[in-house]
Every structure is written in structure tokens, then in C-alpha cells.
Symmetry: C3
Subunit: 355 residues, 3 copies
């Protein structure tokens, strides 16, 4: 792989993630023949904030490959509570394990951890910043259920402002020919401007609508997300709009015969239970595709890797302007940026700072 | 098996549970030869209320068969905390695993889960309602220690009102010839009327006494249970009666030479520590028999099963009269009942509702 | 082994721990060939107080040997919370497992547990009392990094009063010829008198100093420990002395070329991050040596052991004078002492009581 770690989906070349989605498909068909592929290997799941489902999905992936698992899901019980730095924890755990999956509440934590790890790190979420294996899951699901990444009309509905998996999916699919996007949300929960810019720059047609029913007939794919009551601008707005973003049988009846409905789960009430029995509902299958995607990813990353510590990059004496960046809480980390014109982009949290 | 799931002991025919107790005996003798029987299989332990001991017992059973384990014991950290329904959790986890063990605080939860699971479900307790593997454990212990299920005088002592394992054991043993029952408890903690009716209908002699010492000489088996201070009608009653239900060396000296003493554990102080060294005390061995029973059960259930979702039964528009029934908290579940004369018996929680 | 259990390092003869450190070295070189050495065996980690790092280290050791793990790290969820005695928990878990690792907040708990266990017990810490596998880790590190246990000048710095790993290491090394000791701490945090007596009796030269910089040029080994702000006699003393006990690059520049720096981790700020890149810093490697040490120990103890319960020793009617001794909280344990002149030494917590 071009990188030893998977922090962001951009760590994978298109060839690499096509290879992984293809391997995931083969695992799905022949899962038993992959038992033993990680025999004797240990996956550490370091969950600095609990997320049972995500942790269980990675654990299952490793166990189905014949590997073993260690880890924690409650930093209150760990050395962290004694004041240990991220660097020290990673140095120690990368001495115990062959691959690390990490979830952390602070933006850039996985990238920071990768500097000090002797084994590959997979980012399983860093504070709403990135969550590349969810996007990989979505792509494996599309590959299977649609057989193509091109020529699709993709609807995304719900909280499009805060959901980074939505942003990643848009970026991944905008690069394929013939895709168009319908963005369904309240004015308050629209996708950020830079995503719209990205779509326009990629030449992908897109439109914003505020009503799911209107969008239904157009779609080949409908990607639903949780939209939380507290995310509406006011209680009044919530009361007036609840139901507009709930997918139910009535709305399904307006859709194409070969629509597929996805959702990263858990859902609350944004999809009615009566949709579950519709053969176009694929969100439960999606979690299984996620398992195969993670198996493929772990296999590839464990195989590619010798235990080694890479040289630390040299930092600069500039502080990132995002106060939730990992460089604030872990002060010894070298500050590194990419320069884009007169803007510095933080290598950890992607925040843009004007010089 | 006649059912894919083990929700209640009645899911097993007598032939089946005799087969399982027999297999458990063979596992006890030849445990090493069963390592590998569940190679590559995954057991999920979903503990919606924590019970380390029960969870550890199932985990050990699966590991001794060469299988692997995933799961949670703290719903506060899980998707449940985000408002996920039982159905969704089960749909997802049954995509990850080959068999699920589940404990839940609400009556009927395991039955409800079984409707949405693609893999077999074992009920490890649903709110004091049912706990069939404890009864299986008790039966394996009897088979080993007594060599028979017939012709026994069985004493049960302590909280006979709330202890469902006691009720299940009585129902299982009442069907064998020549058994008689001595029920030792305070008036306030007596077995419910329907259990007495069951015994009478089965033609099994039974008596209620309020003094353990009086019963001791009669018994072939003494099944002790935890009796909690707060379960007495008043503090006065507790103070006047404490000691009456404590098994100690003095009481043991009145008993038969081949008595066996059982207890589902953990105990608090209802059995004195000095009884532990009496060779008739079998409660620690009992936990090991429980391990073999669970190994036998898991082996049998995993082997029998293909991953599949059964068609959902059709519900009726009647609400169960038990407010602690799972149909209240998980509202999408079809309401199903068995009709007995003019009474409806809820399929989830066994509550009887008069039409 | 001379004992089935490892409660204190003195349970191992010198020949035995040399055998274990030697095995640990071989495991380090050929780790893959040890996978399978504990196939089918189960390690239970019973952590009555959480310590994720220690637990993870033992779990990794067992998994790298091909064994399996069960256990708990949160007694609030366990049968303990229902009032179960240590004895009962150990009786049950030793029926499930092949070896137990135990951490407990009360002095003597591991020794007490060993009386009731059918499988070997490893003490992973009992209330600051003993922690023998940390000392084993330190010895394996020395063997590797120095190639000898003799002729060394050993500095120990920080909290030398409360750190039992420091005391154990001193006692283990004082027995080898040609070793001398430099004890660096505040007056308030000096090693206890009995350790100084031990050193003098063993004929090992030692000195106490209060300044780390002065000691640096003398040392072959520097063993750093966490020194907590609240451990200083007053805030003033802390403010005036902070920095005196912090190891940084400046102090490293005064040291020998072949010094090695150890630390049991986690560290807080007693070693500057800039020391990490000094090749003499061995504290991260030390955690890996700890893994090999634990693998060697588990292998040896599992192999040596049949499941059996040893006869209980006979106690005396004397109460230990240490109110934090396990005999206070677990009242059924026989009280046993070693007699030294007119002093009784408690077999559980090592407290000395004058007759």
C-alpha cells in the first residue's frame, strides 16, 4: 500500500480500494477459506470513546480471519486515566499487537498516533473528522448491489452538515463518470460549501432540495442518515418538519424498482420499520458488507507490514487554528502542514489557516 | 432440534434434553477431544444487563470448543444507548455471529429477539422470567451425582416465589416417576399457586414447611437459593427468622449420607462456609457441570443451523396485560398469544389475559 | 516449580527465575514458534481494580501462546457486587480456566485466593503490596540489555517509599556480586529502613542522594518511577524541587555511554519526551520484554499444573495487626503466620506483629 496506515480514504489509491472492494466480494463468497489468513496475529482496538458496534465489527473481522483481539473501550480504566500520552500508549500497544484500530474524540488523533506506531493504524473515527472504513463499507455495498460506481443518481438525506461519512462518500463517488447528486436536508443541515465546490469542480450535477418525497422518483441510491431533534434550528422547526425526512412505505412507493436504501446505522426513527421488509432496503446487508470490507482491509494491511517505526517528520513553529486539533492536547507532536497557495492545511485535522 | 432457539426449556423435547445431558457427560470425560468442535464459529454474548458469571460461563464454553467470542456487557456503551431497537441490534449482530446468547431485563426479550435473528438465540435470562440453561445445568448435575431423575425427594429452600430457576426445576422433575417435593420458605416467599397446581396435576406429592431443620432428614436433594433481607415482609420477620434458612454443619448432620446440596450461586450467607468441605456439598461442581451443559448446547445448536431469517408471525390487535412485557418497549413486535379456553397467554412473557 | 503459584518473587528459586528469563529470551528471538504452546488453555484475568495495561499485557502473552482469555475488569458488574466471597469466585473461575491472573486492592488477596484455587494463580498486584511480574520484566530487560546481573551501579529515582516494584528489584539484585545502589529521592520519599538493612546485610554498597544530576555519571542503570505531586510533603517542597527528579537531555549528557534507562510506565512527566529518541532509553523495549517474561511464566506454570485443590492450612486464633490485610475483609480465611523470634509475620500481607 502507498501508506502503511489508513487515516483517510485518500491513503488508498483508487487501484488499492478497488482491490480491497474486490477482495471483500471474494471473502463474501468464500468466507470459510479466509479463516487462518491472520493466524497468530493480534488486532488491538483502542477505543478512547466507546462505540460497541464499530468495535464489534472490527473484532469480528479479525476473528473470522483466525486472528486474536485485545483492547479497551473505556479510557477511564486505562493508563490514559493516569495521564499517559497518546504517544506512550501507542508505543506500548504497538509492541503487543500487529495492527491497531483506533477511535478517539479529537480531530487528527489517528494521524498523530500513526507517527509513533510500529504497526499499521486504522482510523475508526476521530471526533467526527474522518471514518474511512464506513466509506469503504458503502463502496463495497454499491459494488455488490449495483455492480457499478458510475451513472448513478445518488440521494443523501438528513444531517448532511455534520456527517463526515456523507462527505467522504460524495467525494469518492464524484470522481466516477455520469453520477449526479440530490442533497436532501433542512437549510440548517445542508452540506458545507466546500463539498458543493468539490462537486462543481468535478463536473458532477447536483441539486439541493428540502423534501424527500420530491426526490424519491429520481434516485438509484438513497443514503439516509440520523437526523437528531437537537440538530434542528428550533423546536418549532423540528415539529413542522418531522416526517419530511422520515422514509416510509408511502415514499418508497414513489421510487424506482431498483433503488437501494442505505444507512450507516444505528437508526432511530428516520426509516419506518415497515420499510425493512422492502427488498430495496439494504441497510442490514450493508453492515455485513462492512464486515467483509474490514476483513479485506486488515488482511492487506497486516500482510504488507513489518514492525518498524518511521522517522518522525520535522515540524514547524506554527499552531493550528483549530482548538480541537490533537496538537493542542498532545503538545509534543510536530506541527505539520501542507501549503496550498497562502493557506496552510493542518496534516492532522485538515483545518485551513490563512498565512 | 424442534426449535432453532432456546428461549424456554420447553423448546427442547425430553429426548433432546436427555441427548444434551448425555453429551455433557461425555464432554466432561473427554473435554480435550471437543476442542475444535466450533472452530471458526463466533458466539455473541449480548448482555443488556451485566452478569459477569453467566457471561463468563458461556464464553468459556465456546472457547473450550475452539470457537471465538464477541459481545457487550454494558448497554450504556452500545448502539442501544443511541436509541437502537432490539430488532436492529439483533439483525446486525446475527450478521456477525453464528449463535447469540442474550440477557435482558425485560420479560419476553429473548423470544422477541428470536423473531429477527438469522442465527440461534439462547436465553440467558430475561427479567426473572426464564433462564433455561440454569435448569439444564441442574439436570446435568443430577444425572451425574444421582444417576437418575426418578424416585427422589427434592427439597427447595429460600425464595421460592421469585426464583424462576426453582420453578423450572420443579416443572422438569415433576414429570419423572416417584419424585416428591418439600418446599421450604416463609409464608411470604412460597411458590406461586400455579406451581402447586402443576405438582398436583402431575400427581407428585408435595408439602410446604417453614423450617429447614425439619426437612433435612427427608431429602435426597437440597436446592438452596439466595434469600435477600429485603424479601422478608418486614425487618422484624427477617430478624426473627434469619438462621432458619441458613444451611450449616448442624443441619447437615441431620441429613442422609447421600444427600446432595445444590445452589445456583452466587451465595451470600445462606450456606455457611463450613458446609463447603462436606462431600455432599456439590454447588461448586455444579458450576462445572453448567460449563459442560453449555458446551453441549452450543455444539448442538451451531451444528443444526443455517443462517436464515424465518417468516415473521402475524400478530393480533390485542395488547398484553403485563406492563413489563417486551411488547411495550419494542412496539413494532407482532402481538402473539396462545388461546387456552377464554384466556390468552402471551407468547413473550407468558402473562395470562382474560378475554 | 517449587510453588504452584506466583504470589511473590520468592516463590521462584533463583534457578527457576533464571530459567524463565532465559526462556523469555528465546521467545523473543523465535516468537512464532511458541504459538500453540498453550493451545486449548484458558487464562482468566480477574481484575478487582482496573489496570488495562497490565491486563492487556497478560492477555497478549496468552494469545501469543495460542491460548484463550476470559475475565473481568470491573467488579461492579460481577458476582462480587452481589456479595460473593473471594473464595467462591476463585472456586468457580478455577473450574473454568487453566491459570488465573489476579489484581486486587487489598494486601494478601492473591495469597488468599491461592488457597482456594484448583489452578495456578499469578499475582498482578495486591494493593501496592507485591507485583512480581514487573520485577521479572525488569530482570529480563537487564539480562538482554546488559547481559549480566552483576557488577552494576544501579540508580533508582523518584518515589522509593511507596513503590514496591523498586523494593523487589533491589532485593533481587542485591544478591549478585559487585552491585552497588544509588537511591535518589526526596527525604520524604526515601526507601523504607528495612530495605536499607537488607542492602547492608547483603554487603551491597549503597548511598542516598537527593539530586539526580549528581548521580548521573555513576550509573549503569537508571530506574525511574512516577513521582506524584501529592507525594511531596508540601506544595512548597514540590515547587522548589520539581525538575530535580525530571530526566531530560541535559542530564542524559552527563551519563555513561552504555547507561540504560528503565521505567515501569505509565510515565507522566518525570522523563522528558526528548529523552525517548536517545538510544539509551529502554522503557518502551522494557514493556516488550515484559510480554516475553509473561509468556515464559504462563507456559511454565500451565505445563506444570494438574487441576487440584491443596489441603487448607490450619490457622491460629490471632488477628493480623494490619487493618488492610485480606483477613479482615474475607473473614473465613485461616490466619497463618511465620514466626521470627518474638515477631509474627502475616503470611498474606507480610505485616509484622509483636507477640
Amino acid at each position: 500500500m502507498q501508506s502503511r496506515h489508513l487515516i483517510d480514504l485518500s491513503d488508498l489509491s483508487v487501484a488499492e480500494w478497488e482491490e480491497i472492494t474486490s477482495l471483500a466480494c471474494d471473502i463474501r463468497e468464500n468466507i470459510d477459506s479466509y479463516y487462518g489468513a491472520c493466524r497468530g496475529k493480534i488486532l488491538a482496538t483502542l477505543f478512547y470513546e466507546p462505540s460497541t458496534r464499530t468495535q464489534m465489527s472490527f473484532q469480528t473481522a479479525m476473528l473470522r480471519l483466525g486472528g486474536r483481539i485485545i483492547g479497551f473501550d473505556n479510557p477511564a480504566n486505562s493508563s490514559v486515566a493516569k495521564g499517559e500520552s497518546l504517544k506512550d500508549t501507542i508505543r506500548v500497544v504497538s509492541g503487543y499487537s500487529d495492527i491497531i484500530v483506533m477511535r478517539h474524540p479529537v480531530a487528527g488523533a489517528a494521524k498523530a498516533a500513526s507517527l509513533y506506531s510500529r504497526v499499521p493504524i486504522i482510523n475508526a473515527g476521530d471526533g467526527g473528522h474522518l471514518h474511512p472504513t464506513q466509506t469503504l463499507t458503502d463502496l463495497v455495498t454499491l459494488r455488490h448491489e449495483k455492480g457499478t460506481f458510475s451513472g448513478l443518481c445518488i440521494g443523501l438525506c438528513g444531517d448532511l452538515k455534520n456527517g463526515r461519512t456523507v462527505h467522504s462518500l460524495i467525494k469518492a463517488l464524484a470522481g466516477f463518470p455520469g453520477n449526479s447528486f440530490v442533497l436532501v436536508s433542512t437549510p440548517y443541515l445542508q452540506v458545507p460549501g466546500y463539498i458543493k465546490d468539490f462537486l462543481s469542480a468535478a463536473g458532477a450535477p447536483w441539486q439541493e432540495v428540502d423534501n424527500l418525497a420530491d426526490a424519491m422518483p429520481l434516485l438509484d441510491i438513497l443514503y439516509m442518515t440520523r437526523i437528531q431533534r437537537e440538530r434542528f434550528a428550533s423546536e418549532e422547526e423540528y415539529m413542522s418538519q418531522r416526517g419530511v425526512y422520515v422514509l416510509d412505505s408511502a415514499k418508497m412507493s414513489m421510487a424506482k424498482k431498483d433503488l437501494i436504501v442505505l444507512h450507516p446505522l444505528p437508526r432511530v426513527d428516520e426509516i419506518s420499520v415497515d420499510v425493512d421488509d422492502d427488498p430495496r432496503a439494504k441497510y442490514f446487508e450493508q453492515t455485513e458488507y462492512g464486515l467483509y470490507a474490514r476483513m479485506a482491509l486488515i488482511m492487506k494491511m497486516v500482510k504488507a507490514s513489518d514492525k518498524q517505526l518511521c522517522p518522525l517528520p520535522t515540524g514547524v513553529d506554527i499552531q493550528c487554528s483549530n482548538p480541537n486539533c490533537i496538537t493542542y492536547s498532545e503538545t509534543y507532536i510536530p506541527h505539520i502542514f501542507r501549503k496550498k497557495g497562502d493557506i496552510l492545511v493542518c496534516d492532522y485535522c485538515e483545518e485551513r489557516t490563512l498565512l
